[in-house]
Assembly symmetry: C2
């Protein structure tokens, strides 16, 4: 007979998922309540309000999509873009390609601009492309975890508004660990997941939509077959998905509580707890904590003599990529870290696969002990892999960064 | 400051979601492991094998879709049906309408046949429609929870095979509590959720695909932008969804482990535990248990003088619908059950909304004490609502059914 799950101890210091905060794990094990129990709808309302705090927005339309972060991306793109409409995607890593992939499947006319992996776009380059393409939507990743880069978004909202485009961003890898200001930056739609800086498990996708975005969604609204009554909105050109139709999802979360999916109660508990503990610590305090431990890890890997990948000035706080030293088998190094120390670090995708390791400091693991343990174990792993490393170089540099 | 979730005690005796088995809640709170940790991929493989047992199939393609049961339905329909292809949906309740809705959004040419709510289709009626419509796919709900009816599927696989159609069924409300034989019945695709007889939370959708269904999916396969390498499959006509592209989902669960979504680890733990405890008790034993407690509840509601809705011979084991007695406000009765006894029972949709109550006996709550408590509380609620009920009539009838 198969035994219950009983995983070994792990410290997940890769690019995410990372260890969930124990408080989130406890929330996950909470008994269920019914879908329309006033207690449940109260929790849904709490969750909307808590995520307004996380996203820094007053958007009424702030809910969860029941799926992984990729489900949130697809819900945003299929609900905001009609087939044939133009979408501009600035691509600076693997997750920009994912936006292209999803938008193409939604039959958008997709235009891209690219910079080499490890760089970000100056706002002027995006504006020039917007002027040329005249897109209905600009879709851009904030933090592309494949390269660790954090695309500045501050000016993009105004650029899009000037040219009549909507601005969508995928903040999965960055939200919580780096500044994000949905309202102040003029973001029309943003989505994320729980498994990075929010310290939860994958499987729920927070989303927020501006009034402008809601109007676009509502223009395609329709009440489902079997629920529709006289006078309900209908359309000949609905969103090409039922599950990801944000109009329906908003009707379910809104006062009408129109039945759509059966809300994933346990994941809602987790998502609510992720936001609750983030706001309890303080949104800026959590960003500052990610900045601090990210600086320490950056100093530490440099102290071990490793070369950092990409434009460090535009790196996310919560992850660093380092070139795997010449002569070292990257996968063997990761396997040794896992087998000998129970610590997971990551590789990357595409052109960076096997060329870099990615080391995260995020969510519950943006902690001093997690940083120092990882550096101590990495030093031993490099040394035993034949790399000449300064003894204590990683830990000393990190401690200096903490002392500064 | 918002407090952590702390719901009141509830006994969920509606049509689902119901209380999760405590073992499933404990599995949910298990610490995470990395996405490609051998421990995680081992759990994924276990889950595939366990669900083969639940579905009674040898289908290699037996995995989870990361979303609610509706996500599983959409994944099956958008992956199996190209725009313009004919789909036949026999509709006998609200969830038949949902299949119509989802297939239409996938731009299928949808044909329906209908019977009144409370009935099911004779196989000959389905065959006649298949002969006339010549569909690519027949999509039918097994247990339509809106009416409590359980559509016999035993003959439909052979009918579809004879006419060159694929057979898909949504077994969300029925799987685990009623017979289901994917291979013996010739089912090409089936999906479910955890929140009914499987005793888990909503948010993960088990799915199984026959080799014939896999071939249809594979003919539209494509490796994602940013991951594709020379020689990988590509197509000009991919599935119109990335998240629900079963070819990609199978590549992620299969030996190639191609990155797609980040598997929802906690929900995978839950899904694995649901199947594990079901098979530990025994698949037939669990069905028998649902039959037993369903019979007791049926006898009990009749013993209270309530009239049962629909064709009882074709009722699912795990839920019964009763007409709300004349003069009783159905919502007030449900509210009293919840407020006074912490017991949730359900209403229904569309033509049955406010006309029936639906009472479930499923998953963890297919238990003698849950049945007797519900009947005792319902008697008091009816009595205080002004209905003349035989004192002890529900409990006595249920106890007689247990004794039989």
């Amino acid at each position: 007979m198969t035994a219950p799950v009983d995983p070994p101890a792990r410290l997940l210091m890769g690019p995410g998922p990372i260890d969930a905060d124990p408080r989130v794990l406890r929330a996950l094990s909470t008994p269920l309540v019914g879908q329309y129990d006033p207690v449940m709808t109260g929790y849904m309302n709490d969750t909307m309000e808590l995520y307004r705090g996380v996203w820094a927005t007053r958007n009424e339309a702030t809910v969860l999509v029941d799926g992984t972060s990729r489900a949130g991306i697809e819900a945003a793109l299929v609900s905001l873009v009609r087939p044939g409409q133009r979408v501009l995607v600035p691509v600076f890593g693997r997750f920009g390609h994912l936006l292209v992939e999803i938008a193409r499947r939604a039959q958008a006319e997709v235009h891209t601009i690219e910079v080499p992996w490890g760089e970000v776009f100056p706002a002027s380059v995006v504006e020039e492309a917007v002027r040329r393409v005249r897109p209905h939507l600009v879709a851009v990743v904030q933090g592309d975890t494949s390269t660790t880069m954090n695309q500045p978004l501050e000016e993009l909202g105004a650029i899009c508004a000037r040219h009549g485009a909507l601005l969508y961003t995928d903040a999965t890898a960055s939200l919580g660990g780096n500044p994000f200001e949905a309202d102040a930056w003029g973001i029309d739609a943003a989505t994320a997941g729980l498994q990075k800086c929010l310290a939860g498990p994958s499987g729920s996708a927070p989303i927020t939509l501006s009034e402008r975005a809601v109007a676009v969604v509502r223009a395609r609204s329709r009440v489902e077959e079997g629920l529709r009554v006289e006078g309900d909105p209908d359309t000949d050109d609905p969103v090409r998905s039922n599950y990801f139709d944000l109009g329906m999802i908003l009707d379910y979360w809104g006062p009408r509580r129109l039945n759509h999916h059966t809300e994933a109660t346990s994941m809602l508990y987790a998502a609510r707890e992720c936001a609750r503990i983030l706001l309890e610590e303080g949104r800026q305090a959590v960003i500052d904590r990610h900045a601090l431990h990210g600086r320490a890890m950056l100093a530490g890997v440099r102290g071990l003599g490793l070369e950092v990948f990409g434009d460090v000035a535009h790196k996310m706080h919560n992850v660093v990529a380092v070139h795997i030293p010449a002569g070292v088998d990257g996968d063997a190094g990761r396997a040794a870290m896992l087998a000998d120390y129970g610590i997971e670090i990551g590789t990357s995708f595409g052109p960076l696969h096997g060329r870099v390791w990615r080391i995260g400091t995020m969510g519950y693991n943006a902690r001093r002990d997690a940083v120092l343990l990882t550096l101590a174990a990495l030093e031993q792993t490099l040394r035993r892999g034949g790399v000449r490393v300064p003894a204590g170089g990683g830990v000393d540099a990190a401690l200096e960064a903490y002392a500064a």
